[in-house]
Amino acid sequence: MTQAQISMDAVSHTEHPEAWKWYHYFWYNTDHKVIGIQYLVFSFIAYLIAGVMALFMRAELYTPNSDVLDPNLYNALLTNHGTMMIFFWVVPAAIGGFGNYLVPLMIGAKDMAFPNLNAIAFWLNPPAALMLTISLWFGGAQSGWTAYPPLSLVTNNLGQSFWALAILLVGTSSILGALNFLITIYKLKIPNMRWDQLPLFCWAMVATSALALFSTPVLAAGLILLLFDINFGTGFFRPEMGGNVVIYQHLFWFYSHPAVYLMILPIFGIMSEVISTHARKPIFGYKAIAYSSLAICFVGLFVWVHHMFTSGTPPWMRMFFTISTLIVAVPTGVKIFGWVATLWGGKIRFTTPMLFAVGLLAMFVLGGLSGVTLGTAPFDIHVHDTYYVVAHFHYVLFGGSVFGLYAAIYHWFPKMTGRMYNEPLGKAHFILTFIGTNLTFLPMHELGLQGMPRRIAMYDPQFEAINQLCTYGSMLLGVSILPFLINAIWSWGWGPKAERNPWRSLTLEWQTASPPIIENFPEDPIVWAGPYDYGIDTEADEDDTTVEDMLAEVGAEAR
């Protein structure tokens, strides 16, 4: 019934304390689990701040006129909301947080391949946050998270420069992280785990890391050129000096389209773990799901111009990238159908992580379909840079990535903290978030189709009613965070103690203590079943002692 059997003679060498104390989490530490939690807490704070920014923007948009915020501040908020949600929340939480915490555990390793590099990668984030804070202090970058020149060259140079430095720092962090993940998975996977027994989350991390490694340097190049243009008198993107503004867009989107996969591929991995475990059924089409991650990673490198269909792009480019973008729908569809088929015939437990995973599935379908429409140039010409786009990417990034992160937080909460979260509060959190998300973002499709552009503080009064609906939705989303915060803080400190494997999951991270001991496993675990082999030993369970019982004994002694 379980993926691993752990021998009972434990106790490893002790250069480190028996267990980490709370203050170890606030300083340089090379344990991947500490780093994972550092990333998660750090990024969650960024999420809260960026969320408050969104609430201010929705307050401004409650009326057509610019009356709540100064329009410059509004642009600073929209820029930093996007920047922080992407670079300081979803990417670091999904890759840095869960990637770090889970990958070594899932492959039976003691730590990442380069623990010091890992710690350094994390510690690039606080200075990045400092840069962003300085940027905000000087009025903030105001040219959108895309920072298109010439606007980014002529608007608040100081704020824009510090913004670019912040992104360069987190970019470097993610390059270091990506290298580390690839080498870790390749080198440190325990030898008796076959490649087709690698948990799908790890496959997703392989695809994510490859993509980050290819694309992040290109963004860095674009931003460095931008910094030079702003501060050192160069004219790469200054048309009056012979520069070309469209080149920047290519550099930016060559990274930033793959960035959406950086934000969703790890989430896809989480989905496979959560759905299979809580439906008590093997993942449907393991290979198809693993290969589709790699296919998305590959095709995703050749679709970036779909963000530039109305820019300076020739007809052949618009058509080529229409086709390549449409192709992405195929591997994405394979995943969605695979998860639905996993649910089909399962014995579904409506736990909070499962609710968030199913909520994600439901919303991602809509986000994916609107994404297909956006991928076609003739239609995109109408809706590009409108609220239709805002609606689409919030369905995939909020309804997708953020729901996935919540699913992951609830699913691995017992593993990480050693305590159970509160189920009713979790369900309340899910219901409020699900309604809030749809109330906020569904009407935005209509706004865009009817003619409301994005990134505006003042709009045509004909759009007032729908905007007010969106603002109410955002207020509900603001409230929805409360049950989560109460739950997380209270449960972490005082929740009931969790067993080592409360979900009876088969992946390796559940076969050690909750929270895991410092070097993860008392001794190298032995893999004797696939990560999703639910239901296969059911008959054996009836006549013999169940594996759970055996594990419980093992667990008791290991502790």
Binding site: L361, V365, H382, M458
Partner: protein, 339 residues
């Protein structure tokens, strides 16, 4: 016999669901009322394309969401059942099937996209540019191409003096072929207004065009990126400093419709709105005659206009004070007072 008893109802249920999904999808695809009025010859093309996508999308949405909701209900854990579900790890033919379905759909949509894009005039940008640059060669009314004072123009000519400037956007449709447009207007985006320069040299803050005539806009930007969007026309093209882009269309209906800037261009980006007024040809001619500049001097752009009810000036007025200029200064929307 026993087997038949089981399969017949399943087939029936499947058939009923299929028919229901099809009916709902076609209905929602047809009248979803999601898009605004259609005012250009491109609009019906885009809208029909959108309808097809909504129809297919609705069908997929209903089937997938239906399957999810059904599975959640049907396959929920029963009380006291702690066992696992049957270990079904996959089904090759099913997986091939659901890989093939989206593949077929996106191939279809891809081909359809190319066709629609072609009929919108997307492939003609290069050809029509070649025509446009032989100014005197034909009898159309030519705009003073974005004046010599424009930042972009000297640069372009410097970069490629003998070659025609490459244009991006939408050009002549296959139906229009090599025909020159009836009217060419130079459009310039600047923070935070649109300026329209007519063939006779006059400059306005709102766009007047005759209904049923083939119009080409040559779009440039003075300072930062803007994006020229006519929502009711379903067409949009970025205004790029240092490049000329174009939009070509035939308005199909008289009336007043919004002109919107769709690319973030600064703090007052949201107020960068104007309008397009589509008039009967004789009304249009009359309007042109009434607003004939005193001395037609191409390039100097000296002309002011009386903007009608909801012009740029009105949108901008509330913010004028914040920019440090008085409302009177924006009223005529005087162009390029800068170097």
């Amino acid at each position: 016999m026993a087997k038949e008893k089981e399969t017949v109802p399943v087939a029936l249920v499947t058939l009923t669901i299929g028919i229901l999904v099809a009916i709902i999808s076609f209905w929602y695809g047809r009248d979803n009322g999601l898009l605004p009025e259609q005012v250009s010859q491109q609009a019906p093309l885009v809208d029909n394309f959108f309808r097809v996508m909504v129809t297919v999308g609705t069908a997929l949405f209903l089937l997938v969401e239906g399957a999810i909701v059904f599975a959640l209900f049907k396959f929920r854990r029963r009380p006291d059942d702690d066992t696992d579900a049957p270990p079904i790890k996959g089904n090759f033919s099913l997986e091939v099937f659901w890989t093939a379905i989206p593949a077929v759909i996106v191939i279809g949509l891809g081909i359809y996209s190319v066709d629609v894009y072609n009929r919108m005039g997307g492939f003609d940008t290069v050809g029509s540019t070649a025509v446009a640059h032989h100014h005197g060669g034909h009898a159309t009314q030519l705009a003073s191409l974005p004046g010599s004072s424009d930042v972009g123009a000297p640069l372009l000519s410097a970069a490629a003096p003998q070659q025609v400037a490459f244009k991006y956007g939408l050009g002549a449709t296959p139906a229009e072929g090599q025909a020159s447009p009836f009217l060419e207007i130079a459009v310039k985006g600047l923070q935070y207004a649109w300026l329209f320069t007519y063939p006779n040299g006059m400059v306005t803050g709102e766009l007047h065009v005759p209904v049923g005539e083939d119009v080409r806009l040559n779009i440039t930007a003075q300072d930062v990126l803007h994006s020229f969007w006519l929502p009711e026309f379903r067409i949009k093209q970025d205004a790029i400093p240092g490049e000329t882009t174009e939009l070509r269309f035939t308005p199909t209906k008289t009336g007043t419709y919004p002109v919107v800037c769709a690319e973030l261009c600064g703090a007052y980006h949201g107020s960068m709105r104007s309008q397009i007024i589509i008039q009967e040809p004789d009304e249009y001619e009359q309007w042109v005659a009434e607003n004939q500049p005193v001395a037609v001097t191409t390039g100097t752009d000296t002309v002011a206009l009386h903007p009608s009810e909801r012009s740029d000036a009105d949108f901008l007025a509330p913010y004028a004070a914040e920019w440090g200029i008085d409302a009177a200064a924006i009223a005529p929307l005087q162009p390029e007072r800068h170097a």
